[in-house]
């Protein structure tokens, strides 16, 4: 199992829970690069990505007590908030309907709920990257459009000019396959 969150980051989160503003500055120094990387990937606009980066850390400040070190890695929690925040901003900028299919609370709860295998709460990002590369390109593409652009099935179908059923099938089968590959890698 990959290492869980380092003790010094757990200590930082405790300080944030105690409303120590210097701790949020320290967490920013640690995570600003990947948070901004995610928000830029989603928004593809410097100004919007900068604002989404600040919004992400303000959410972290306000929700720090929700994170449980024993139920998930801090980096996953932070990146989930960053991606959700950026997609929410993107849809507002595009005057699209809010990204209501799954709320941030649901998403964070999902990440921290018990998986069937203990190690699944601590997926190794490098292993996952390697496994994702084994998926067919058309499945990766539809998943990424949902994951990074907040597109629904039908929006992806329209964007790619593909039948809706095909898009649904690729998303479903892509994640089924990723799960199967992951389980194989753990044997």
């Amino acid at each position: 199992m990959p290492d869980a969150t380092p003790p010094e980051e757990i200590a930082l989160m405790r300080r944030i829970c105690a409303r120590d503003q210097s701790a949020l500055a320290a967490l920013y120094d640690q995570y600003a690069g990947i948070v901004y990387g995610i928000t830029m990937r989603v928004l593809q606009n410097t100004t919007l990505a900068e604002e989404a980066t600040q919004d992400t850390f303000m959410k972290i400040w306000k929700r720090a007590e929700d994170w449980d070190a024993e139920r998930g890695k801090l980096v996953t929690w932070v990146l989930t908030i960053a991606r959700y925040t950026a997609i929410d901003r993107l849809r507002k900028e595009q005057r699209q309907s809010p990204w209501t299919a799954i709320g941030l609370d649901d998403l964070l709860n999902a990440l921290s709920s018990s998986g069937p295998v203990d190690s699944e709460r601590f997926f190794d990002a490098q292993v996952l990257q390697r496994l994702i590369r084994q998926l067919p390109d058309d499945r990766i593409k539809v998943i990424e459009l949902a994951f990074f652009r907040g597109m629904s099935h039908s929006e992806i179908a329209e964007f790619l000019q593909e039948p809706l059923g095909t898009v649904k099938s690729r998303i479903r089968q892509g994640l089924f396959d990723l799960k199967a590959l992951w389980l194989q890698s753990q044997e």
Binding site: A11, A18, Q21, Y28, W99, L107, E144, A146, H153, F176
Partner: protein, 281 residues
């Protein structure tokens, strides 16, 4: 390749619902379902609660797509803007209380022990009175604290914006001395009475193990109130910004104690450093 079809059971209403849920969950987790489909997921989860764990699995797996995102350092103003926004929101959430009438001197201010905290609060009451004695030894330290701001600027470049806020001629400089000998300077607090923002700077506190943290307290008539926990570097330095909830006149002293890493509601150990706040009369 294997897929979840292998886990499908003979058709019953329950199994059919679970199969439908298995089909929807991957898209649900990455946000590709419509609001109607998401509502259906919630309905089906009530029928097939055993599949709730699949949500965590797919959520964790899908985060792998974020793993190859290139880290990009944002411009410096993003950090400054964040910290300014944080300070502003915190100040709005915890506004300073109306200024209480100031007592003429520290020694005339009664410090009441907090109910139910007798075991450790007696020390803090005595300590608040003892800080008067520190006045006699402050001359040397007062000569040094004039340089504190420039030292901070050098050592803590990232705190430039906060220092700018505190660079006010009326900023109070409070020296915290060791309670062991009442002479060794251990820390300095710079407190701006106009915006009620303050910073603590230390250069002589040893780093603690991961199970413990230093905790700063502001001590007023109601006893010590936490002003946050902080850690020091290997060289003993630390920079801790805090925003006291009440004006400076509401307090008589500041102190530092060693507490569990997550901090304490009230001090659980004797203070290792104390400093008296100046009176405004």
């Amino acid at each position: 390749m294997m897929n979840d079809d292998q886990s499908r059971q003979p058709t019953t209403p329950h199994n059919a619902a679970c199969d439908e849920l298995r089909d929807l969950l991957p898209a649900y987790v990455i946000g590709a379902t419509t609001a109607e489909e998401a509502a259906r997921v919630h309905e089906l989860l009530a029928i097939c609660p055993e599949l709730e764990s699949d949500i965590a699995t797919y959520a964790g797996l899908s985060e792998g797509f974020a793993a190859d995102v290139q880290a990009i350092q944002p411009a410096a103003h993003v950090r400054g803007g964040l910290l300014a926004r944080l300070a502003e929101e915190e100040a709005a959430a915890y506004p300073a209380q109306p200024q209480a009438p100031a007592a003429p001197t520290l020694v005339t201010k009664a410090i009441k022990p907090k109910r139910g905290r007798r075991s450790s609060s007696w020390w803090w009451i005595a300590a608040a009175a003892a800080v008067v004695l520190l006045l006699a030894t402050n001359a040397l330290w007062l000569a040094r604290v004039g340089d504190v701001q420039s030292q901070l600027t050098t050592l803590q470049q990232e705190q430039q914006e906060l220092l700018t806020v505190l660079a006010d001629p009326d900023v109070a400089r409070i020296a915290l001395h060791s309670t062991a000998d009442q002479t060794t300077p251990l820390a300095t607090v710079l407190w701006n009475p106009h915006n009620n923002e303050a910073i603590l700077y230390t250069d002589a506190l040893p780093a603690l193990d991961s199970d413990h943290a230093y905790q700063l307290w502001v001590i007023g008539a109601q006893g010590p109130v936490s002003a946050g926990i902080f850690h020091t570097s290997a060289s003993g330095t630390s920079f801790h910004a805090f925003a006291p909830r009440e004006d400076m006149d509401a307090y008589q002293a500041v102190g530092i104690s060693v507490e569990p890493a997550s901090g304490s509601d009230q001090p659980t150990t004797n203070p290792l450093a104390l400093g008296e706040l100046p009176t405004t009369t």
